[in-house]
């Protein structure tokens, strides 16, 4: 492989790595959301810039995204130096400094935060499980499955596809049963069957509506803020 081809391949690998990083609230990859403003690879150095829909987007989520992106890019084979920076954000300086120093969230915002963000992240993965449950259940209902039968079904009964894979992956992340023989409907807090299935499915639908509306607002705001979005994506 020529040196140029090698850099191209590495750039593609860095982009793929960024595609594994999600906005924890929206449960979608940064690359799909248009949050990657710049992705440049030179030799073994990778420089990534992230942007968000508003100047005041919540700093805790912003921190998680920058830290996750840093970890993902640094793990790409051949990348010896990874720099990930948030731009156009009120807390960019503190976040960038904290992530670069591997300082953790609490240390990056001394006096303004009392702990790390693991529980916050877990809360949103639980929401993602609920939203994902509605997605696959709606598809089943649309295919004529009786609502009453849903609690008897397993993940294996859901037609194969991206929605099922995503739901299984989120359940795996939470340590919940996620095999094809495991129940389709579980309470994300306990891993067992929900006490009231109808109410559970109602909240699953509501959680999905909320997540999607939120994503819609974020995408709309990003487009207003960066009308030429898309030009940088995937570029050097």
């Amino acid at each position: 492989m020529t040196a140029a081809a090698q850099v191209r391949a590495r750039h593609a690998a860095v982009w793929r790595a960024l595609g594994t990083v999600r906005d924890p609230e929206l449960d979608e990859p940064l690359t799909d959301l248009g949050f990657v403003a710049r992705c440049a690879v030179e030799g073994g150095s990778a420089l990534v810039e992230l942007r968000l829909p508003t100047y005041f987007c919540a700093p805790n989520f912003a921190f998680l995204m920058v830290a996750d992106a840093h970890d993902a890019v640094a793990a790409v084979p051949g990348v010896v130096s990874a720099q990930v920076r948030l731009v156009d954000h009120f807390a960019a300086e503190a976040i960038n400094r904290g992530v670069a120093a591997r300082a953790g969230f609490a240390a990056s915002f001394e006096g303004e935060a009392t702990g790390e963000l693991d529980e916050l992240r877990a809360t949103f993965v639980r929401k993602a499980v609920l939203a994902g449950t509605d997605r696959v259940c709606r598809a089943l209902l649309g295919a004529g499955v009786d609502r009453e039968r849903l609690p008897e079904l397993t993940l294996g009964d859901v037609p194969a596809g991206a929605d099922r894979d995503r739901l299984r992956e989120r359940r795996r992340e939470l340590g919940l049963p996620h095999g094809p023989g495991d129940p389709l409907i579980v309470d994300p807090d306990t891993g067992g069957p929900p006490r009231d299935v109808a109410r559970h499915l109602g909240f699953a639908r509501l959680t999905r509506a909320s997540q999607e509306a939120n994503s819609g607002v974020c995408r709309g705001m990003l487009r207003v803020r960066y009308p030429h979005r898309g030009e940088e994506e995937g570029g050097r």
Binding site: F56, A58, F109, V197, R199, G202, L206, E212, M221
Partner: protein, 345 residues
């Protein structure tokens, strides 16, 4: 008043502002935040129809004449409720204060209701000033901005004991409508900034007050709805829902309206245009024209009736604020409808 197809709608805009975010009003050393704030608002305007977008300089500071025109001459609004947002940390004379709102309201009798604010971090002096404002401007509501910065503090919680003292004072003074904005950067930053559990706490403790969660807790509608089903005195302020979604994301708008009707019901939803982010005219007209689309994903939700739209656009807020509605604009036989709560399996 808006009339369409022989139906007359009494319109209460539950969420309006008269702000000054012009550079002359930026606090020295805080320009970055003052500019970031108004630009963020301006970007929200981009979610409305293109012909309603304003240039940034007009958006930073608009005239009284323009506001009166946009709301009352062409916007179909009968009464508008001012929701102040001080932000004195960033804006020298404040961003949108009770005092500026009240000055405008006094010039146009009957057109506005003036809400004020309290901030438990202001202590006893703040309490005294709060009481004075309530008496002077006849306030029946407050707008609380728990995420507001003050010195090193990045916000406060309704669960703070000091906040309860103020809420007791609200009960005493007849300030019965507590609007709460849930926004980013509440302290401590590591907690979920949109957490509505503090509203749950005070709604239980203060049964005589109404709690209107502005922007329906977006982006946490699910937490908000869950909480609201358990508290009979919690309402949804629709600012941002109509302005931010109806035009830009119609399908999500339909879903969100369906969920709000399902979990809270038609008596708990309060329209607000959120001027000057969005003008009321297109929102009122669009909402009257709108209905639940025929779509498999929306099949759990029935269409809205004319009577339900009348409640949402004005009659609900008129009830909370004791606004006199002309006889011909009232509903014939108002009845309280409980939210459905849970779908039939």
């Amino acid at each position: 008043m808006y009339e369409k197809d022989g139906e007359k709608y009494f319109v209460v805009d539950g969420h309006t502002h008269f702000w000054d975010a012009s550079p002359q009003n930026w606090v020295e050393g805080q320009e970055e935040y003052a500019k970031g704030w108004i630009e963020c608002f301006h970007a929200y305007q981009g979610l409305g129809p293109a012909e309603t977008h304003w240039p940034i300089d007009r958006f930073q500071k608009y005239s009284e004449e323009l506001m009166m025109h946009d709301l009352f001459e062409v916007g179909h609004v009968d009464v508008a409720i001012f929701q102040p947002t001080n932000l004195r940390q960033w804006y020298r004379n404040g961003f949108n204060t009770t005092e500026t709102d009240a000055a405008l309201a006094e010039k146009h009798p009957g057109k506005f209701r003036v809400n004020t604010y309290f901030d438990p971090r202001e202590g006893d002096a703040g309490m005294k000033a709060f009481e004075e404002r309530v008496r002077r401007y006849d306030c029946k509501g407050v707008k609380l901005y728990t995420a507001e910065w003050m010195g090193d503090s990045r916000g406060w919680s309704l669960k703070d004991p000091e906040a309860s003292r103020y809420l007791e004072k609200c009960e005493e003074l007849g300030v019965k409508n507590i609007h709460i904005h849930k926004g980013p950067t509440i302290w401590p930053l590591d907690k979920d900034a949109f957490d509505v559990s503090d509203v749950d706490y005070v709604a239980t403790n203060f049964q005589g007050l109404n709690f209107i969660v502005e922007h329906v807790g977006l982006p946490r509608i699910e937490d908000f709805c869950f909480m609201a089903t358990q508290e009979r005195n919690v309402y949804a302020g629709l600012a941002v829902v109509v302005g931010g979604l109806m035009h830009a994301r119609p399908k999500f708008f339909a879903k969100v309206m369906g969920e709000l009707m399902f979990w809270l019901g038609e008596d708990k939803l309060i329209f607000g245009a959120d001027y000057a982010i969005w003008e009321p005219r297109w929102q009122v007209e669009g909402f009257v024209d709108w209905n639940m689309p025929a779509d498999e994903e929306l099949s759990d939700f029935p269409p809205l009736t004319v009577a339900q739209k009348k409640k949402i656009l004005g009659l609900n807020a008129a009830r909370l604020y004791d606004i006199d509605v002309p006889e011909e604009l009232r509903l014939e036989a108002p009845k309280v409808v409980e939210p459905v709560g849970v779908p039939n399996p």
